[in-house]
Amino acid sequence: MPTGVEHYRQEWSAAHASLPGARVGWIDRARREALDRFCGRGFPTPRDEDWKYTNVRPLERRAFRFDPGPEGGAEGGAEPLPSARRLDGLDAAAVLVFRNGVLASSHSGTAGTVPDAVRVESLAGMLESDPERVEPFLSGGGGHNAFSDLNRAFLAGGAFVSIGRGVQCDAPVELVFESVGESDVASHPLVLVLAEADSAATIVEHHLGAGAGTKLANPFTRIAVGERAAVEHHLLLEEDESTWHTGNVEASVAAGGRLGSNAVQLGGRLVRYGIDVSLDGAGATVILNGLYVARGRQHVDFHTRVDHREPGGTSEQVYKGLLDGHGRGVFNGRVLVHLDAQHSDASQSNHNLLLSPDAEIDTKPQLEIFADDVKCSHGATVGQLDERAVHYLRSRGLGEDTARALLTFGFADDVLARMGLPALRRHVERGLAGALPALAGLPPMDSANGI
């Protein structure tokens, strides 16, 4: 059986004619062009500057199968993952659950509180029934790297979320992507979020995996924030230890719009996540928060890119990393302030805590500024806990292990608090306490009182 690029070309040839919207000209074209780009440049290698620290050669050598199957079907016989792994207390307006990229209708639904002008539905259905609606967002773009091309080439479904002009959807929309079952299964779901002018919505994208089979989760999220609209996008990656995750977010923010991008990664064998945001209108605001954790032999790589294209935009990035065991982290934050983007305010910080002598982090800020009247700052640190803080806590009677656990927890909780979604914060706090030996000495917390 061939591997690498040739394998995917064969898979595509066998599958493309039966994919949703195959008879729609632009959809077929977008898939073909993406496949050609992917085959033309192949998998990235460490010789590519953007992939210097993240080697996907082992992934290339495997032949991941793409088998979307029918929506709402037998779901490959897989049992749904235990609900305990889901976010507790989210009170979602609507939930869509995908299993290996395919919508599992029996586990999806709305709470009945969704305003009329909010649509949360299957993207596969949209590709068949209303392709014109999604064409402006999916016919071009997406060509950030080999994996976003692969996603587009195999575009078969995912979620479509739209919020009508002026509509405030207070409760979050929850999208769950489960990677389950046998080895060498690939999924390439796509999430399309359209927030029209003056609307507001919160989207929670939760990726979780289970099982020993090696899997490839390769999602792509496209977010379009309209004028003065506000979107909070929460991404929670809790893949299992045999899943490779190569997702990408591409977002555009119109004049006066605001995007909050909150990414938390706790699991996965290798995670390479790209976040690409473009401030397309004057006075747009983008707040990016991220927390990543690598332990055991995990590898996690966050690449962000923020383009200030119009005047008066604000972008603020805070990414934090906890590296334990032989964990390896990479952070690359690129900010481009284009010639027309005067009075932009861009800040970026990346702080990393090394919890073991064998853990590693490579962090690289990249500021490229072409306008002359802007405010830009960046800062990156790699280190251990502040010994003055350790002493201060110990001087109040806390044992050394407890003091260190509290500070490590605080390091992470600081950025979780910025994300502003209590259900997610509590979930991740519990996840961290269970995952990191460094947090074993944490004093008991009464979550009802927050103490």
């Binding site: 806390l398 927890f409 009182n449």
Partner: protein
């Protein structure tokens, strides 16, 4: 005479190889309030930090006994559990650690060590609210990360709040009065006075005689160039206020 709570004998301390304390001796009985005064750089803060177990202070000679035991052999958290509390001159800002969560953890660590039952969230909140009123602190600060973004005065109140919650046997205040306005000064002083009892002792390090009008000391010591140059009663503080430390320099040179 009862046995001293704290007995410092001929204490020599170096920081990065530089001698800072050059033979300090001081005996503190239960129930007493001692004030330590002295010019900048005389070693006052170093003395406080050595007692609390701070990093980087090398004891090169001498001893410190606390309730008859070798204090210097104890880890900082052990000292706190045995009733020593230092109000920091510069409390550390700790992002991400909720103030109330920290306070509850500290109180329960100390209660556990004393053999008292730990407080649950509800009992603790009640106790904390009561003490917060006494230091006239904004309750919102309890829900904020520990000391982060607190003003100078808020940090000092938070130190006094911790002291009241932990109920130490020996409280050491390292220039807690500096940078406070007159109202805040009185509140901090009230907090300290509320702690006074026959089985507790307080060591107040200060630059200002005014604070000692509120917290009236039994003994006043002047630390000068790493040694206690003078000891006396309440009147010594007034004398220093009037004459300054200049004459001590002259005496030392003589």
């Amino acid at each position: 005479m009862p046995s001293p709570l704290l007995e410092i004998s001929d204490l020599h301390v170096a920081v990065d190889g530089d001698a800072i304390l050059k033979g300090v001796s001081l005996s503190v009985q239960p129930g007493e309030v001692h004030a330590v005064m002295g010019p900048n750089g005389s070693g006052k803060s170093s003395l406080c930090h050595v007692l609390a177990g701070g990093n980087g202070y090398d004891v090169t000679r001498g001893s410190v006994a606390y309730r008859g035991e070798d204090l210097l052999a104890l880890e900082p958290d052990e000292r706190a559990k045995q009733g020593i509390f230092l109000a920091f001159q510069y409390p550390v800002e700790i992002p991400g650690v909720n103030n109330a969560y920290f306070l509850k953890a500290a109180v329960n660590a100390v209660r556990r060590a004393r053999g008292d039952e730990e407080l649950d969230a509800i009992d603790f909140m009640q106790l904390m609210r009561e003490k917060v009123k006494l230091v006239d602190m904004d309750e919102g600060l309890l829900r904020r990360p520990l000391n982060e973004g607190f003003s100078g005065g808020e940090k000092k109140r938070n130190e006094i709040l911790q002291m009241m919650l932990l109920e130490p046997r020996l409280a050491i205040l390292d220039e807690t009065d500096s940078g406070l306005d007159i109202d805040a000064l009185r509140i901090v002083a009230d907090g300290v006075n509320a702690l006074r009892s026959p089985d507790r002792a307080i060591v107040v390090v200060t630059h200002h005689e005014r604070f000692l009008e509120y917290v009236v000391p039994d003994h006043v010591h002047v630390l000068f160039e790493g040694r206690i140059a003078r000891s006396g009663g309440r009147t010594l503080a007034r004398e220093l206020e009037e004459r300054g430390y200049g004459h001590l320099r002259a005496e030392a040179a003589a």
